[in-house]
């Protein structure tokens, strides 16, 4: 065998060995921790980085840890350079979103050097979400905090571990400052154990391959991953792709604010540059530290572009650069701004913006495989409450049911509807708990668990649907705690003419007729439950539930893909029959008429669809509506003429340097009104400006080209601005 290609085979075997290594670190962590957050919610990661602080292996269910592990380990490596020494058995604790080693303070990492004899081989990074980190929040999340000091303990790379052991003084410090010291200390020890397993296995790998070959293979694998990602990026047209999002903030008993965020992605050859901007930082927990921003950006990238044969390692980062702009903003906060929910507020908006700009670029690719990666945005929100107090067993219950954040919809894909109960984009592998377990442990009686009708964004492929669940505080007098929700007023947009999904919300039904219903033998279903419905702000520092009060949490759906009028009428009728959408929604969103027996009325549907098209553009369309060649690609750029065209009917939509939206028919309406017509949930804003839906239609065939969600009075969303192909010399690949 010739040498170079013998290397390919060896490098692949070496890659598998390192994948085993991070998996075995994860096994060690799961086995020694026993924390339900690790074994059930899978909120942890185990990573191996080399001495240059590049990833060699990554085992994680929460994708943003790819970003935090890189930043956190870099930070430690820099500290080591400053102090000039690192010894085997040293270990650092990191949970500071500012320095990037965590997306929020509840995620705590143990970073340890990996040695073979005196040789520093690299770093182990082990991270898990802790039950508690002290301070004003539960599990580190504090909606009531006005600054980072009030949130919880913050460790910006503190060397607490010497000779493989947590130092006694630090142990005492932590014991004195967290609510569940036993499990927290145990988890720290588990992370040390996982690092130790990693170090031992790495020594074995180096023993087996030899140090020189270990380094050569690691370098080769990074190069290969880089090359594949670059090949994919190179198939995106060079240019600038932009979008905006709005973060919601109504906490601290203040106003109902919408805070503007923006992302500009530049494609240049095989490089991707992300530049964020954001409104000034605020005194609430939504500000996203560097870890959350990097982590959520790479989350959207992984779910969209890391398909097929592309193992994750340091090569993945090389084509990317992420700029956070000047300090003092939501996307680049400075202390004392609180940051404990930054990963789920501004961070999730960053994830959705990244998904959007990637879709814009993918839609214009010449490669059908890449074009097929366009998609609607996932809901990406966290409707959740944290209640604590005495339970019916005489013990304490901490109710932080992740079922609602798990039960939100995914974005529609070009090959299928979005997944129901997808969870946030960053939460792969998340599961839904059995309510029988909740009822056995906590003083609750569940009343229903249902799919929220009409929650998936309408489209040729529908957005993923969401879960609604309700429980009554049936067995104790009261429980209380904070509650928060990040995506109620500005829901997740679709793509390529697909509509946004429903927003999420929660509310309390006070003094319900629960007992009367049960006494009559009727289960308390939503249509039967009466009581005083109390709607609180989205972000509540403390909320009390009294005996029999019912908490209802309604999840939001993912954005749709493609014009809903292109969805097969029989599929829409089947959705009605299944109860996923209402008859009224089928008619209003899809122009499909379904009779009282859930049967499709084909003739009436044809008329209804014609009527919808006419109402879109204020007259009878000149051309028929056709499905575009690529699902969800509604606007195409003609290479020869450098002009935009409708992908359905080829109508000219202007020059490449202009925004094609100006040539489309615009229908703008306040989202509350539009969603009322569509029978979809969205939280109405308490003050101006309202959120609006801007629907852009082809003037000739009435195809839906884009449905934007933004704020009244804000600028029109931009279209891609491509760089002339000759202007940018293509970077040589690989």
């Amino acid at each position: 065998m010739n040498r170079r290609d013998d290397d390919i085979l060896g490098a692949e075997i070496h890659r598998k060995a390192l994948a085993n290594l991070t998996n075995e670190m994860a096994i060690a962590l799961r086995r020694t921790s026993g924390s339900p957050i690790v074994v059930e919610a899978m909120d942890f990661s185990t990573c191996l980085l080399d001495a240059d602080v590049e990833h060699l292996g990554f085992a994680a269910y929460v994708l943003f840890h790819l970003g935090t592990s890189l930043l956190g380990t870099r930070f430690v490596a820099e500290r080591v350079k400053e102090i000039g020494e690192v010894r085997p058995g040293d270990g650092w604790i990191v949970n500071d979103p500012y320095d990037g080693g965590a997306a929020h303070q509840g995620d705590v990492a143990v970073i340890m050097p990996m040695f073979r004899r005196a040789e520093l081989l690299g770093w182990g990074f082990v991270n898990m979400h802790m039950l508690d980190m002290g301070g004003g929040g539960l599990s580190g999340i504090a909606p009531g905090a006005h600054d980072v000091y009030a949130e919880c303990l913050r460790f910006p790379a503190v060397r607490m571990i010497r000779d493989g052991k947590l130092e006694r003084e630090w142990e005492q410090f932590i014991r004195a400052n967290v609510r569940a010291p036993g499990p927290v200390l145990n988890d720290l020890r588990s992370m040390i154990a996982a690092n130790n397993v990693g170090n031992r296995k790495l020594s074995e790998v180096v023993e087996r391959f030899g140090l020189e070959r270990h380094r050569r293979y690691a370098a080769l694998n990074k190069d290969i991953t880089e090359r594949v990602l670059r090949e994919r990026i190179a198939k995106l047209p060079d240019g600038v792709y932009e979008t905006v999002e709005w973060n919601e903030w109504d906490g601290h008993d203040g106003g109902d604010q919408l805070l503007e965020l923006g992302l500009r992605m530049e494609v240049r050859g095989s490089d991707l540059k992300f530049t964020y901007r954001g409104a000034p930082q605020i005194d609430g927990f939504v500000n996203a530290g560097r870890g959350a921003m990097w982590g959520q950006t790479v989350t959207a990238l992984l779910t969209t572009l890391a398909y097929g044969d592309l193992p994750v390692n340091g090569g993945l980062w090389r084509p990317l650069s992420i700029e956070l702009g000047p300090p003092g903003t939501l996307v680049h906060p400075l202390p004392p701004a609180p940051v404990s929910d930054g990963h789920a507020e501004v961070g999730m908006r960053a994830c959705k913006m990244t998904r959007e700009v990637l879709s814009q670029a993918l839609a214009l690719s010449d490669d059908p495989i890449l074009r097929a990666r366009v998609g609607g945005r996932a809901h990406d929100g966290t409707p959740v409450s944290a209640l604590y107090g005495k339970n019916q067993h005489g013990g304490t219950s901490v109710i932080l049911y992740l079922d609602s954040p798990t039960g939100i919809g995914g974005g529609a894909q070009s090959i299928q509807d979005g997944q129901d109960g997808y969870g946030s984009t960053c939460m792969t592998g998340c599961g839904l708990s059995d309510l029988e377990t909740h009822e056995a442990d906590d003083p609750v009686l569940f009343l229903w668990r249902r799919v929220v009708a009409n929650s998936g964004g309408p489209g040729q492929f529908r957005g993923g649907q969401a879960l609604e669940q309700a429980f009554a505080l049936a067995y104790v007098d009261s429980l209380g705690g904070p509650a928060w929700n990040s995506c109620a007023e500005v829901p997740a947009a679709g793509f390529g003419g697909g509509f946004p999904g429903a927003g999420s919300s929660y509310f309390v039904v006070r003094d319900p007729n629960l007992r009367e219903l049960l006494a009559r033998g009727e289960t308390p279903l939503p249509e039967r439950l009466r009581g005083r419905r109390e709607v609180t702000p989205n972000k509540v520092g403390y909320m009390t539930l009294h005996r029999d009060d019912v908490l209802v949490i309604v999840g939001g759906g993912g954005g749709g893909l493609g014009d809903p009028l292109l969805r097969e009428a029989t599929t829409v009728a089947a959705d009605v029959g299944a109860g996923w959408i209402t008859r009224e929604h089928a008619r209003a969103a899809y122009g499909v008429v379904v009779d009282e027996h859930d049967a499709l009325d084909a003739a009436a549907t044809e008329l209804a669809r014609d009527a919808l098209r006419a109402s879109r553009i204020g007259g009878v369309p000149r051309r028929p509506l056709r499905a575009p060649a690529s699902v969800g690609v509604a606007v195409v750029l003609d290479a020869a003429s450098q002009r935009w065209h409708c992908a359905s009917c080829a109508e000219d939509l202007g020059a490449a340097e202009d925004n094609w939206r100006t040539r489309a028919v615009l229908r703008e309406s306040p989202i509350a009104e539009r969603y009322a017509e569509l029978g979809m949930n969205v939280r109405a804003r308490r003050e101006d400006p309202p959120v609006v839906v801007r629907e852009h239609y082809c003037p000739a065939c009435a195809a839906a080209l884009a449905v934007d969600v933004t704020v009244a009075g804000s600028a029109m969303l931009p279209a891609p601005l491509l760089t002339a192909p000759s202007a940018t010399p293509r970077r040589a690949l690989g």
Binding site: T32, G34, Y61, I224, G423, L525
Partner: protein, 702 residues
Amino acid sequence: MSTPPSAAAQDAFIGVDVGGTHTDVAAVVGDRLERGKALTTYDDFSRGVLDAVAVAAERHGLSLAALLARTRLFVNGTTVVTNALTTLTGSRVGVIVTAGFKDSFRFAGGARQAVFDDHLQVNAPDIFSRRALLEVDERVDWAGQVLAPLDRAALAAGVDRLVEQEGVEALAVCFLNSFLNPANELAALEVIQARHRELFVTLSHAVFPVRGENRRWTTAVLNSFVQQGAQAYLDALAARLREAGLAGGLAFFQGLGGGISHGRARDYPLALLGSGPAGGALGANALAKRLGAKHVLIGDMGGTSFDTGIIVDNRLHIDKHVDLGLLHTGVNIVDVVSVGAGGGSIAWVGERGVPQVGPMSAKSTPGPACYGRGGTAPTVTDAMVTLGFIDPAGYLGGRFPLDGALAEHALVENFGARFGWNAEDAAAAIHDLVVVNMADAVREVSVEKGHDPREFLFLAYGGTLPMFAMQIAERLHIDTVVVPHMSSVFCALGLLAADFVLRSDRTVAWDLSNLAQLDEVNALAAQMEAETRSEMRAEGFTDADIEVQRSADCRFLGQSYELNLPLPPRPLTAEDAPRIAQEFFALYERTYGAGTAWQGVPTQLLTLTITVTGRRPHPDVRRAVTRPTPAAEIQTGTRAVYLPSERRRREIPIYADQRFTPGSEIEGPAIIDANDTTLFVPPGCRARRDELENYVLTRSPA
């Protein structure tokens, strides 16, 4: 039943494994074992079964009728339920669920996979029509109290609609907390049976009386889903066997690793899931006991996949609550992990430009390139022919000659050329990759469960694995590999080791510090034992043949994983409670490492398990007299074989299986050619045949 196994010298025992391609038979008459093989007949499985049994009968010199007439026990393992679930073909099921919770089936416990690619994120499959889903008023709370009784009238009307308008063929009743109090599910059964007596009904508490509605309900629905197909199979096979003269007992083999009666299999067909691999594992354990080996890793390589599992202290590892893709069930089956590494696995070049093997397979059509049936993708079999491991002229005893030129062509054109490799380079790369993939799978089943593979023996069966077994073992630092006698019908042979097994699990959620619950737990255990025992007695077992084991799943309160520990076979006393807690603490630290147990947290005994075993007589296969043959006399010639460890081709000896008498021993490098199996003995290793005619491969002392 209390007759000693070997008393009736000419009694017969038959194990039949109905697999995807072949139906395999192992038939023992007296102490003599013969095998039979026939193609599986999908239109009527019983035909293939009788064909295969007839082959074995002939080898015994008996007619089919004569063999069946003297058969004391006929054990059948079948893929009929596994296939129904793999292809999702089953009955039209109507589902009755507590009002408010019908969409639990849609969320199915969460469908999001732990993979990056959004295109792979799909919903759990629909196994019944949404229109056949009926919510009814009823509710039981966390303490087992009925909050709302069943609305009988609404149920009656609803069920009529399901039957008349939706045409449902079976029902599943899925109520919340029914594992604590089944009153409402039982009331529902009463209402249904009064109106539709013929309808098959599964009550969720009856099939899986354990906390967690998602698994319990899914189990109930799947049981009704597979019931019709399973019943047709069971009834047809039983009838044909009786017609053909079967005199003795008939048992069906469960994925749990034991037999059950025809009647029980009709009521709980889901128990038949995974019965094939379980037969192999059970046989492996029986063999391990005869060899005196306690810790065994097992491997079975077929055409499309490599199956592996672990045996610790001669106990099979049971995969509790198995997942079928996105469907989470409460079914317990012998834990066998399957990866896409078989003889037909295809070598390919991914987008990274890196060589890969599997999981795609060329299957039997078109098959590997060397089959000459139009396959052009290079497979593991093609590589092994090219490297000289497989003799193309002698494949399957010469009945199916292979084309080595086609193999080489496929290896170069569709794989190796990309890297500048010739056929041998390409084949060597495939060999190395498939060994790594299998070794990784074996590593996973051992390390995942906290075991070090070095302490294990590797038992390798199936036609293809013995070529790779020793090299997999070397990667894992395992010293000894055993290739069993009649490796290719090993699963059918395993069925003969089967006892009858019934298992009952119940959630008790007992905080061990609360002695007030002791009586309740004891009463429940007594009731579970009495029910299972009486079912065994109904099968004809006497108390002397019945063995009862009790065990419990315990956890620290607040954790979501449990560890299983044995309980004494008697009512528990107040002194037992702290002792169980201590034992759990010790087990936890033994499993997860010193210092990991949660201090100051109550221990909860979550689930009680009663396993009742009805002892069956087993055939005893004779041990051969050791009569070593000198290596030179076993050898039939030499062949040029590529030795992966030396990265070159060498002329090495070929030994014939027929001449390899028990007690004989040879040194590697060597190939042992058996009819349907090829063994490779690498350099530095030895192979010996023991008195059970197994090959035992060991590394020679340095």
